[in-house]
Structures are given as C-alpha cells and as structure tokens.
Symmetry: none
Subunit: 417 residues, 2 copies
C-alpha cells in the first residue's frame, strides 16, 4: 500500500484563524484511491519549518503532497525549499512566463516582478496547470519518490488535484484497481439521528460493509463503503446495501455522490422545460443565489424579488396591505400571496416564496425565531409548509432555502410535495 | 517566545472523514497567549507514527500538546507512547481509580477492564480533570519541557484546556504579559502581489516585526505581528508599522481584525441613517444575501430584485427595451438604468446594481466572461464601474458583489467612489 504525507503551509493556519480544509480534502481523495495517509504536517511560512516538514515527510512516505506557498510574494517559499530538499535546480520556463504575461494582459494589468518566480521549475518536473489563478503546481518523480506541490487557495488546489494529479497518481502507482467500492446517498428532511434510527436494522446486519452518516447543511449524506474479496464482490455488496437504503429512505433521497440539491432541481426543470421565479423575505436572496450558482441557470430562472421590507412585498409582489396587517409578514397567507404574486408577474411555471424570522431578534411567543413559511405555487396549486428551524440565523436561512428547493424537487419528481 | 507543537491523533482524521477542529482551537488559544505554534502533526492510531510525532515535536519546541488517544480501547496509545518518549514510568493512581468507579456507578454500569488504564499516570504528572468524560488529561514538566495530553472529543478537550491548562501555562511560562502584539489590516481593490509591491519598502525595512499577506475572496488581509522586548514595546512597533501601512494603502483599507466589508458598510448606513436597495443580474442574489447575512439588516435594507431575465429587468426595474436592444444586458447603460430603476421604485437613499457575464458560457469577443458593470446611484449621482474579473463563475459573482459594497463604502466614507 502506498504511504503518503500531506503538508499544509501557511502561518494563518497555525494562528488558528483559517480552517485547513485542504488537508481534509486531500486525505479523503487519497484514502478513496487506496493510498494510506501516514502523517499530516502543518507549518508556517518559515524556511526552517517547511524544510523540516519535507525532510520528515520523505523519511516516512513515498508520496509527499504539499499545498500553499506557491504565490508571488516573498513569504511564498514552498517550491524553493522542496526543490532544495529533493536536490533539484529550478530554471525559468519560457512557456510559463508567456502564460503569466497573458494572464495579466487579459486583465489589463501590469505583471508585478514577483510573479516571475512562478515560472521557475526543475527541468524534470511536470508542470500542473492552474485554471483559476497564476500559480502552477508541480509533480516530480525522483529516486522512486513523488513530490506534488499545489496552490493554497482551496478552489485552485481542488481543481488541480482533480484535473491533473489524480490521473498521474493512478498511472504512476497503478491505483486503478480499487478493491473497495463506495458511494454516497444524499437525503433531505430527516435529521442525522432520525436517519440513524431508520437505518438501524440495516446497520445492525452489515457484513463487509460500513456506513457513515454525515450531516451537512440540512442534508444527511449516507456514505457506504463495501470491502469484498475483490472489486466486483465489493460492488455487489454495495449494490445490495444501497438498494436497501434507498428503499427505506424513499422520497427523502434527492441525489447520489457529487450531486447537489440545486443541481437535481435544475435538471428536473430543464428536462421538463419548466421555468421558475422566486420571492424571498428572511432568506434574503440566498435561494436566488443558490439557484444562480449553477451555470446555465438563466435557461430556467426568471429572477427573484427579495422583499425585505413590507413595502417591497406590496409594490413588487402585490401582497395586500390587509394581509400584512391581519396576519403579519410572517404568515401562511403572506407566503401564499408572495408566491402567487411573483408567479403571475413573471408568468413562470413555478414559484417559490419564503417568509419567516431568521433571528436572532424579532421573535415573539406566537411567532418564535425559526418559524418560516415556505410556499410553492404553480398555475392551479399553492402549497404552504410551516417549519420551525433551529440553529441560529444562518442555519434558519439555509434550511429555508433548502426546504423550498426540496418542495420543488418533490413536485417535479412525484407531482406533489 | 515560547514555541509549541500540536499533535492530533486519530485514524479518522487521516481518512478525511472528520474535520480536525481541535488543532484549530488550540492554535488560536495558544497564539492568543503569545505562544508561537511551530508545526502541527496529525497522525493515525499507530504506535510508530505517534512516537515519531512526539520525537519530532520535542526536537522543535518546548511545549507539546497532544489531543486524542486517551480512551480505554486498544487503539488508544497516546499516553503510553508519550511517557515512553519523555522517559517516565506510569503507575496506578488510586484516586483516579476511585473516580472511574464512581463515574460508572453513577451511570449504573459495570466498569470495563480496559478503563483501568485511564488511571495510569507518571508520579510527577499533574492530572487534569475531565468533567465531560472518563479520560483525564495530563500536564508534565520534565527537563524544561512541557508535555500536555488532552482527550480527543472537542467538548472534553476544550473544557479541559480552558479550565485547567491555560492557568498552568500562564503560571509556568509567565504568559500573562503577552509579549507580542498583532493586528490585521484589511484592504480591497488591489491583488495580493500588488499589495506586496506597494508595501515592499516597508517590508524591506521591518525590524522586530513580521508581515503576512492573505488573499481571501477579493480581499487582502495584511497580518502584522510585532515582537518587541516587552508588551508595550511590541505595541509601539505595531502602531508605527500599522500607521505606515494604513498611509500607503489609504482608501483601499476597509477594516481591521474581525471587521467585515458588509459589517463596515452596515455601520456606515446605520450611523448616517441611510437606506439601500439592490438590483442584481449576474450576481444572482449574492449581494442581497451578503447584506442580509447580518442581523438587523432590515433596518437599512429595503430589498432587491434579481432580474436574471431581460423581462424582469424591464418589468421590475424599468430598464428600457431600447437600451437592452442597443447596448445589451451587459452594458454601462443597462447597469445605470437598473440602479436608477430600483432607486426610484424603492425610494431609498442608495442603490447598487450589477450586470455582467459570470460564465463559463455567454462571453463574446467584445464582452468576455468576467466583464461586469457595477452601478451606484443616489439622488443626484450615478457612477458605473467597468470591471474584468477572473477566476471562474463563483469568483466573478463574489468579486462583483464585493466591489459593489466597496463602492458604497467609499461613497459613504469619502463622498465618492
């Protein structure tokens, strides 16, 4: 089994002001590939600390992956030190200089002197393209060991790993044949302990298989890992257990593996040729933002109104002033009028509306913080769900938006929420 | 300055299935105490890995804090190995045996055999009480070095650290008087390498002070740490350098330490009694979401329209169809009409509007992906900024929203963008 060490560099990590999400991502991906991570090191932007980590890492493992410190500034030291430790000289790579110049030209900015060092690489290195920033990564084989350098910003690092590193690792270490098989089933609705209870019978009878539950922003991800005698045996176990879990969780299941709730809803809208408009109050634009996070959303998303004030609810959505006076902004009636209002103004097939109290202030005894009304409207229907969410402002907003999307998913998938 | 290493043990951490929140907590608390964390190690529940980590950690630092592996099971090895490395024998501590027996008696459970090892400690150790679980921690001084062992579950670990460890550290290392002083200056506008260039003269002449730059969602955070001969000397150095940096970065500076751009804008709006409405296209609700992330935003935020379709721009914002036809949705003219439209419909003091191409598709030669127009309107003014953002859809949206907020900040702070 291939052993690996992961190094994260960045003084901000040691100050505890930034969460080191890179090492978690890399741990997970490498484990999934069948690589055993032996030790993770986190060091500051400090020559001696970084050098020590590389020396120790290469003592422990054949594969060393490091993120951070590839930037253009003086405290970006990783590449220089790593090359020093493995005994490689760097030279200016003309092609990379050209890439950098083009990068800045496209942005109509002059390239600072410091960026030039991002074009320095050992002759024997494979240079890894960075499609999100200026710092290329590096993959280097030497004396049977592999050194991989990745940029620190998680977006850049993850993309580079997925697009370039994984293929190289699979090839160099013959990691294609994976004995275990795994998948994730994603549900929304019940909480983690509720899912645990629902799956108790299955979990108690597991053989050659493990199940882990991960609660995440109102979703529960059920991670199943089967370890049979060989790859096809593992896949068979996985199929069986997944089938049982899907049956049990039924309509709560919204997707698998990399699928997201927004993505699933988007696909349903596109495949059925339907359009959507949104009206938000307490979620304050979050639902619209989640929908438009996806490229191509302009194909089915008409737009939204964030009616944070009552005036905006009346003016843009046609909510009646009497309704606001009699029932309040946080009410089943207002939610319904918001949904119907945006539906008729937009002429869309579906609309979603959210109104509630996200807190921390503004709650009353009858209408506590966390009370949210979520409406789904279409030509002949309007359904309103009354929800009580916990967990603070951010959670209430997130759960409201997710529940709204899930109502639409169920409507599109099953013809009812 | 006292140097420390942090060790986290637990195979689940190396599999990437669990976030290592302990090391972040410890990093932060130790930094706040003026202790410099030199390296963090994460290792599995494996004798050799744990031993290696302790040996390396004691080579690097005088203080080694480890969390995890104090439980009753066979893979809980930390205490045995740590004592082996520092050369201390363990013996059964009668009082701890009694605590354990009481713990189980209270829960009406028989104590498993394995738990007995939780009462084993070196004679010279200070035993740290665990009010949330069965595993006591340990504080050991030997040859001028300090070894601290804490349980793995974050609740237990944090409480033990706060209730016991901090006091002992302060006493043993005279940490009450924090010697170093640090602060963060936050700027928006220039990129990381541009800030590096602007500060080059200051950075090159630094004495008793270090500067780290951290790029983060379009912002650059300048972290300054001064290490003088004593606390007041450090503070004096910090004041001087901060002053120089503030002068150089001037209007790019939007905040300090924990301040956020949204928070700063909110405070300015509140203190001047001004209101805001927003119209978004490519940012798709993100700006509204950022504004309403803050509690109390209903006090100054009227609402927003996410006009993702042209129809919504015309219907809700009063953008002229001729404007869309002649100049296109992504144009200076449309941005201006969106801002003026929402300003007049809402009757607010200020409005912000964003229109652009977030990509990845939809770009043309004249209007490439990343081109965004951002407008700020008030009663007598309307300013439009043309920006070219890079980094993919998510970055373009984020940078658009941030730039819009920054335009409003400058308008409120300096009376012009």
């Amino acid at each position: 089994m291939l052993h690996a060490c992961i190094i994260s560099t960045g003084t901000e990590l040691l100050l505890g002001s930034t969460m080191d999400s890179n090492c978690m991502f890399l741990s997970q991906r490498l484990s999934d590939l069948g690589v055993r991570v032996i030790t993770r090191f986190t060091v500051g932007d400090n020559h001696e600390q970084i050098k020590n980590a590389f020396i120790n890492a290469f003592k422990l493992a054949d594969l060393v992956i490091c993120s951070g410190g590839l930037g253009p500034t003086m405290d970006d030291l990783t590449k220089e030190i790593a090359c020093e430790v493995v005994g490689c000289k760097m030279e200016l790579v003309e092609e990379e200089v050209k890439h950098l110049q083009e990068y800045f030209a496209r942005r109509k900015r002059k390239m600072p002197e410091g960026n030039l060092k991002q074009a320095l690489f050992p002759r024997e290195a494979i240079i890894l393209k960075n499609s999100k920033g200026t710092a290329p990564g590096m993959y280097l084989k030497k004396h049977g060991k592999v050194l991989i350098l990745l940029p620190g910003p998680p977006r850049e690092m993850q993309l580079m790993y997925l697009q370039e590193v994984e293929t190289l690792l699979k090839k160099d270490f013959h990691l294609d044949e994976k004995q275990s098989a795994s998948c994730t089933i994603k549900v929304i609705g019940p909480g983690e302990s509720q899912v645990d209870e629902m799956l108790a019978d299955i979990i108690n009878q597991l053989r050659g298989c493990s199940i882990a539950l991960l609660a995440h922003d109102g979703e529960v991800h059920i991670r199943i890992t089967a370890e049979g005698e060989n790859s096809s045996h593992s896949k068979q176990i996985l199929r069986e257990i997944s089938g049982q879990i899907e049956n049990t969780m039924d309509r709560y299941v919204f997707g698998h593996n990399e699928e997201t709730l927004t993505g699933v809803v988007a696909e349903l809208l596109v495949s059925k040729g339907k359009s959507l408009a949104v009206a938000e109050s307490c979620s304050g634009g979050l639902l619209a933002q989640m929908i438009t996070d996806l490229q191509g959303s302009s194909g089915y998303f008409w737009g939204s109104v964030t009616s944070y004030s009552n005036e905006a609810k009346v003016k843009f959505l046609g909510v009646k002033e009497e309704t606001l006076e009699s029932y309040g902004a946080v009410s089943r009636e207002t939610a319904e009028e918001m949904a119907r209002g945006i539906l008729s103004k937009s002429g869309c097939d579906f609309s979603l509306a959210i109104t509630g109290t996200a807190g921390p202030n503004g709650g009353t005894r009858e209408k506590p913080v966390g009370l949210v009304y979520i409406a789904l409207a279409a030509k002949d229907i309007c359904t309103v769900k009354e929800m009580y969410f916990a967990g603070g402002r951010e959670a209430v907003r997130m759960l409201s938006a997710k529940t709204a999307l899930d109502m639409l998913r169920r409507q599109l998938q099953y013809g009812g929420i």
